[in-house]
């Protein structure tokens, strides 16, 4: 579809439907990188990923390759992964520790963890030629870097709203709800990153996360298998089956249940799903967790924290966070039809081990490379992408469900039903704004 047919990219988005070029066109994708991924705030990693001086992890912001690292002075930095000498990638591993300094593998220029040049071999060749203290000869730092409750973001744009302003009350909930559940008010990453490639556009993943119509259909087989095994487990052992079985069985909740959930649309495309499965059974783990929070905050605040009803937060365009289970998936678009997800989970500092076990069970069943849940999601995403790439057969994607019915107040949209396509409309409203700029 030649893009010059359109006056501007914003015209690909109508209030209740969007053009397939939004997902399938490489030119649109390039423009998304420029207008969205290089302008907004993008999640880089968690401070606890790099506990010691010299620790680093590498990741992506659009097509840019970035380094998250910690310096001798304890500061966490975000740098471009590029040597100012001849341009080689400095860190060629996913993660590691660079004792004292980064050392370029090509000609051994050395850099401090803040990017400044530390040493160059055979300096005399540069004497009187260039000044080795020139900032051009440093590893470049991200244009902006800010941290919210341990979660590090970078923006590759000098200008724009501060991180807190951009996150707003909606997206802050993702991190507040994780951290508040810890008696110490902090979480800590479990140092394991599952990386899974989706053969589909990055938006298809985000939209699916808040698509409450799909689970009982897409995950029918897994939901049934888990419900079967809950029964078998009880019969054979006489015990309650592990909580992970319930996580899977919940995917085939009846439509009425999904319909009773709430979706909330915030500015900048951040979107929430509220209401969820019972994570406060009267078991010893939950009770111990309640006690640990009550000891710090008193009973009222403990109850406030644990009844926070956020199931899923999309920090647009880069994150899908599930705070009650401490799951985080970072979205790294590689091409219009290719998306890398970096999947992490967190421990709540000071909470009982059983609370971590729940997070781990969810991480395994839903988010690991052997997931029986995303097996079917990713299959759908690919089918969507392949269909959207077709020339014929139609041009538009429908977001009509409950269009015009969702209440708006102070720029925040709520939904009349959990199945409303309000989340998709909210994300595309932000998309249109970014892309029209």
């Amino acid at each position: 579809m030649p893009l010059d047919q359109y006056n501007n990219l914003g015209s690909l988005v109508e209030p209740d439907r969007v053009h397939k070029a939004c997902y399938a066109d490489e030119q649109v994708f390039e423009k998304e990188l420029e207008n969205i991924f290089y302008k907004s705030w993008i999640y880089i990693g968690h401070e606890s990923q790099v506990p010691n001086a010299g620790d680093y992890w590498t990741t992506w912001v659009g097509k840019e390759r970035m380094i998250l690292c910690r310096g001798e002075n304890g500061d966490v930095n975000v740098l471009y992964n590029r040597c100012p000498h001849r341009g080689a990638l400095i860190c060629n591993n996913l993660n590691g520790n660079a004792p004292k300094a980064f050392r370029c593998p090509y000609h051994a220029w050395q850099f401090n963890m803040d990017g400044s040049l530390r040493n160059v071999p055979m300096k005399q060749g540069y004497e009187g030629v260039i000044d080795l203290t020139d900032p051009q000869l440093q590893m470049k730092r991200a244009e902006r870097q800010e941290t919210y409750r341990g979660f590090v973001f970078a923006s590759l744009s000098e200008e724009g709203p501060s991180l807190e302003e951009w996150l707003g009350q909606g997206a802050k909930a993702a991190f507040d709800d994780i951290c508040n559940r810890s008696p110490e008010g902090e979480c800590e990453v479990v140092v394991n990153c599952f990386r899974i490639i989706q053969h589909s556009n990055w938006k298809i993943f985000l939209e699916n996360q808040l698509d409450a119509v799909h689970p009982s259909i897409t995950h029918h087989s897994t939901g049934d298998a888990a419900a079967d095994m809950q029964r078998v487990y009880k019969e054979k052992t006489g015990d309650e089956p592990p909580m992970g079985y319930q996580f899977l069985a919940d995917f085939t909740l009846p439509y009425e249940k999904w319909d009773s959930l709430d979706t909330i649309g915030h500015p900048y495309g951040h979107t929430l799903l509220a209401g969820y499965m019972g994570l406060r059974p009267r078991d010893p783990v939950t009770i111990a967790h309640e006690e640990s929070l009550t000891a710090v905050h008193g009973e009222k605040r403990m109850d406030e924290i644990l009844s926070t009803n956020v199931h899923h937060v999309l920090v647009y365009p880069c994150l899908s966070v599930q705070p009650p289970l401490q799951q985080l998936r970072a979205v790294r678009p590689l091409a219009a039809n290719k998306t890398l997800t970096e999947i992490w989970h967190f421990r709540l500092k000071g909470a009982p081990e059983g609370i971590y076990d729940r997070s781990l069970a969810y991480y395994y069943h839903v988010n690991s490379p052997s997931t029986m849940v995303n097996a079917d999601d990713l299959n759908n995403f690919r089918a969507c992408q392949d269909g959207l790439t077709l020339e014929g057969g139609g041009d538009w994607v429908s977001f009509h469900r409950n269009y015009g019915q969702d209440p708006v107040e102070n720029g925040i949209t709520t939904s009349v039903t959990g199945m409303s396509k309000q989340p998709m409309r909210n994300m595309f409203a932000a998309w249109k704004e970014y892309m029209s700029a």
Partner: protein
């Protein structure tokens, strides 16, 4: 000489183990699920660590960490009429080789081997390779797996799509 005795017993052990591993690969490729479950002891576990240096699967992230119940669940899923990602056909072919006996006693054998596997789905072929470490129980009925550890060559990923079935 005791050395000869060791060699003789290891040769027959090696044959038993090799035959077991070939049969296991065949069962997996032909999706004979009842037989698959029968390869494991009642408390047997199939384990694929999430990193090369992992020492246990208990209480930490894994790619696979499945007992009989979870294996049974996985079987029920792939055989479910609505498992649509299985619909277009899903075929695998394993080759197991380089079989070595690490240790053996009256009731246990530990053996390592290497595998290559191709998987065909949706007009595409994926390729996996790695190392198996089998901890066998010697039972009256023959060998049963207490723990099968599977170390993938590409354990760090990134993975193109997921693994629906054990490797």
């Amino acid at each position: 000489m005791s050395n000869d005795t060791t060699t003789r017993s290891s040769t027959s052990t090696l044959q038993d183990v090799e035959q077991f591993l070939y049969r296991q690969a065949d069962i997996l490729d032909e999706r004979r699920w009842e037989e698959w479950l029968g390869l494991f002891t009642d408390d047997g576990i199939y384990w694929m660590p999430a990193s090369a240096d992992q020492e246990t699967g208990e209480g930490q992230p894994n790619i696979f960490w499945e007992d009989h119940y979870l294996m049974d669940m996985r079987i029920r899923r792939v055989e479910h009429p609505y498992a649509h990602s299985q619909k277009a056909g899903h075929r695998t072919s394993h080759v197991v080789s380089n079989v070595m006996i690490e240790s053996e006693s009256d009731d246990e054998i530990v053996a390592t081997s290497r595998f290559h596997m191709v998987e065909y789905r949706l007009d595409e072929q994926r390729y996996f390779g790695g190392k198996y470490t089998h901890r066998f129980a010697r039972m009256d009925a023959g060998l049963k797996i207490k723990l099968q550890r599977v170390d993938l060559a590409n354990v760090e990923g990134p993975f193109e799509y997921v693994m629906q079935i054990w490797l």
